[in-house]
């Protein structure tokens, strides 16, 4: 909804809002009016040209989009590489509810039987070096991703795929080893991208700027991992030339520096992880607009469930019972977050309904009964005098905040937690070596199948908790093989109930997240991601209020 209000009037309201915040400390009502009034002054016809500048928390570890497709890798490469299919990201819509899959590099597909998919590639798609996309590229890419020796982060996306064959120059046949309910979702995952075989054949794929060749709307111009990554518009993009001339992303780890850069229009878009920062940004900038949403980056506590004390289910249940997620939402997400069931993001269509979840032990209020049960379980497990253990957490981003609240809440049940805040590299090294008692981390995935296989499956790549449960493996496999949506939902409900009982990983909450843009930025499709903002880079355009810039 927009209002037609003059710019001058809007400024008066903005100033009033600012002073209102100073004196009342409840500025929220002012912001909507200011934001929308100023948004109304924007023109609606796309304008060609301009350089979009943004800040990114950290650089990708490398340009290898297979091995290093973590959040920062994805953000760096999302405008360069594309997949056969994609989720339907639209302005103002939450794609996660239905996970609708739409054609992308494949213009259509058919499924002659339960185990076979035939993809017809879009004609006229060019690589950044001018060569045409062919079936050879698709066959190579999907085989490259699923090949163990390439150590691709999301190789699990293609688990269950038996073969990938070229039918003709523009057609690919994909055969699975049985029914695969989430196959299209897995192919729509941003990491299941298509790479140029001809570049791989020269041995240059992922090596430097010349080895970074995609079909996306932006070409890589330069990459300095200590400073910035620069993209330039791809003139021959299959959807037509992007509106922007280019994009620059500076790597700025410090939140206040990112905010300061945004406020003086040295960057055009910003992500922040809570309402307080969001309100500060909107108030200070006086014209920026934003949107808050719960993420799919659910925080959870992994424990080494194969070792004492966490090999005792009573201890794990006690920890679950002692946590007060409602307070976590208040303290950590300032009301915007969501309470997660185990194994699935609360915003997913597959999640147990919230009203049902909040009646269950561990989730319900008041906490008296749960707290008493937690103490009883600890006593039965032999920890009546108290349980002590350490939780490792990455020392940056939101991890310390969540760890501090978790530790304090567990204290109420007589559980003493030592917090070890460590550098991210050390944290993940410890995780892969299993060198920890408990770790606190975000479990992020748009696809429930990918998430279950990664974190809960006994052979999953991210099974940090060292879960080895044949019944759970069977259920995870079953949901993957169940094509009927209703039946699959029942299996997924069964998995959530099973995980509630076993509590291998203790879920906490999804944090709220905010995207903020200056009013001259248009058509930025919100992917509901904490970091990845450039999903539809070809659609973004800047109006004539944008500061004049040239590509570095």
């Amino acid at each position: 909804m927009t209002y037609s209000v003059s710019f001058a009037r809007s400024m008066v309201v903005a100033v009033a809002a600012f002073y209102g915040m100073l004196f009342t400390h409840s500025p929220a009502p002012f912001f909507g009016a200011v934001r929308q009034a100023l948004a109304a002054s924007a023109t609606s016809t796309p304008r060609r040209g301009g350089v979009l500048v943004r800040t990114q928390w950290a650089p990708p570890r490398s340009l290898d989009y297979c091995r290093d497709a973590n959040a920062f890798g994805v953000e760096a490469m999302i405008a360069i590489y594309e997949g056969l299919v994609s989720f339907d990201y639209k302005l103002g819509e939450d794609f996660r509810r239905e996970l609708k899959v739409v054609p992308y590099l494949a213009e259509r597909w058919e499924q002659p039987d339960e185990n076979t998919y035939i993809f017809h590639l879009r004609k006229g798609v060019k690589w950044h070096d001018g060569k045409s996309l062919t079936a050879d590229d698709v066959v190579f890419s999907l085989n490259h991703i699923r090949d163990q020796k390439n150590a691709c982060v999301k190789r699990g996306n293609l688990a269950g795929v038996k073969s990938i064959e070229k039918v003709d120059a523009m057609t690919v046949k994909l055969t699975t080893d049985g029914p695969m309910a989430p196959l299209l979702e897995s192919l729509a995952q941003r990491e299941t991208a298509i790479f140029p075989k001809h570049v791989y054949d020269t041995g240059q794929l992922f090596k430097g700027v010349s080895g970074t060749v995609g079909t996306g709307p932006m070409r890589l111009k330069s990459f300095d991992r200590n400073e910035k990554i620069v993209y330039t518009a791809f003139e021959d993009y299959w959807k037509g030339r992007p509106h922007l001339d280019g994009i620059v992303a500076y790597f700025v780890p410090e939140p206040q520096s990112r905010l300061a850069g945004f406020l003086v229009k040295r960057s055009d878009i910003l992500t922040v992880s809570d309402k307080a920062q969001y309100e500060a940004a909107v108030t200070q900038s006086r014209s920026a607009a934003g949107e808050g949403f719960p993420t799919t980056h659910g925080y959870a506590m992994y424990m080494r469930v194969d070792r004492p004390p966490f090999n005792d289910v009573r201890v794990r249940r006690a920890i679950h019972l002692a946590l007060n997620r409602q307070d976590m939402v208040k303290a950590l997400a300032f009301g915007l977050g969501k309470i997660n069931p185990p194994g699935v993001s609360a915003v997913s269509a597959w999640a147990m309904p919230e009203e049902e979840l909040l009646k269950l032990p561990g989730y319900r209020l008041p906490k008296d009964k749960d707290m008493a049960d937690a103490k009883r379980l600890l006593k039965e497990a032999g920890y009546g005098d108290g349980l002590a253990f350490s939780i490792q957490a990455v020392s940056v981003w939101d991890n310390p905040r969540i760890a501090e609240v978790t530790a304090r809440q567990l204290k109420e049940a007589g559980i003493t937690v030592r917090l070890d805040f460590i550098e991210a590299g050390q944290y993940f090294a410890n995780q892969s070596k299993g060198d920890f008692q408990a770790q606190l981390n975000g479990m992020s995935s748009d696809s429930i199948d990918a998430s279950l296989h990664q974190y809960y499956y006994s052979k999953g790549g991210g099974n940090a908790a060292h879960i080895a449960d044949t019944e759970l493996d069977r259920l995870i496999e079953l949901q993957r093989r169940t094509l009927d949506r209703e039946k699959r939902y029942k299996v997924l409900r069964q998995i959530q109930e099973y995980l509630l009982d076993k509590m291998y990983v203790v879920p906490t909450i999804e944090l709220g997240f905010y995207w903020i843009t200056h009013p001259y930025v248009h058509n930025l499709a919100n992917s509901r991601s904490t970091t990845v903002m450039l999903y539809r880079a070809a659609d973004i355009w800047l109006d004539d209020r944008t500061p004049k810039r040239t590509l570095p």
């Binding site: 939140p255 206040q256 905010l259 307080a276 501090e404 917090l419």
Partner: protein
């Protein structure tokens, strides 16, 4: 059996002596007003540290989710942080951590530096040459960088921070004490001690050490301010005392930085505590140096 006629004058003399001490202290305070101000600040910190359990109105770890980022008011003198914790209570308890780490680090640094300086200065020769070259190498690293490197090896935590800061303070203490020992060992009383066959150890620790105590105290006092600052810096960088412990440095880092624009009091009060404490110790150290250094003493 005591004689009242003797006791009475001695008691009177005692009171007279106490009065005289106070009078001298007051005169000293007027002569060194900055030093006196430093002493007041130091006393305030010591009081805050000692009486934190009594004067802090809230548990410094308790989180009140209905009072998140409340600005300073009568109920919460310094406001609350992003978990609703009372910042006044946390700053008071933080004084304890600050003093504890500072005193321990300075004790390690000054003790080790003084002993090495004493031996090096007294023995002289190759031992002195070698130990001083080692100190040259040691001093080539700025104190905070050295402390960071040591913490990187040992890992974060209160004890490790004490050791790291303490080790980074060895060279300055060593140099100052060695200099004082070099001046002291040429005195006649040392020759006299040698003449009566006193052992080297006895001469060093029985005769020289008491006479170089003044520079040791000055070095320690100034170093304490630096140690507190280093602890704050390490905690600020996330490698010092770990949250949720209310160390001033970690209070100034992390959440405070995130919410600097929304709740500036989260950074202002711990920052102010660090500033006043370090200033207090430095002013006091400077004043003590002036008092005990005959070259700087007024009228000397």
């Amino acid at each position: 059996m005591s004689n009242p006629r003797i006791i009475a004058p001695s008691v009177a003399n005692g009171f007279g002596a106490v009065g005289e001490v106070w009078r001298r202290l007051i005169r000293l305070a007027f002569r060194k007003p900055l030093g006196a101000f430093g002493l007041v600040l130091v006393c305030l910190q010591l009081l805050a540290a000692g009486l934190a359990p009594v004067i802090a109105p809230y548990d410094p770890y308790e989180q009140y989710y209905d009072r998140i980022m409340v600005r300073p008011n009568l109920e919460h003198l310094f406001g609350t942080d992003n978990f609703g914790r009372d910042l006044f209570s946390r700053v008071m308890w933080g004084a304890q951590i600050s003093i504890k780490v500072g005193v321990a680090a300075v004790s390690i640094g000054t003790l080790l530096g003084s002993i090495l300086g004493l031996i090096s200065g007294y023995m002289g020769g190759k031992l002195d040459m070698i130990s001083q070259r080692i100190m040259d190498g040691w001093m080539a690293f700025p104190g905070i960088i050295l402390a960071l490197a040591i913490v990187a090896v040992l890992g974060p935590g209160e004890i490790n921070v004490m050791v790291a800061i303490g080790l980074s303070q060895v060279p300055p203490a060593n140099r100052v004490i060695r200099g004082a020992v070099l001046a002291e060992k040429s005195n006649l009383y040392i020759e006299a001690a040698r003449a009566i066959s006193s052992s080297e150890l006895r001469i060093m620790f029985r005769h020289i050490l008491p006479n170089v105590m003044a520079p040791i105290i000055v070095v320690a006092t100034i170093a304490l301010g630096q140690a507190i600052l280093s602890e704050a810096a390490l905690s600020f960088l996330g490698v010092g005392v770990q949250p949720p412990n209310p160390a001033w440095g970690s209070m100034l880092s992390g959440h405070s930085r995130t919410y600097m624009l929304v709740a500036p009091w989260m950074a202002i009060f711990p920052g102010l505590a660090i500033f006043l404490t370090v200033m207090g110790w430095n002013l006091l150290g400077d004043a003590l140096r002036d008092i005990w250094d005959p070259r700087l003493r007024t009228g000397a």
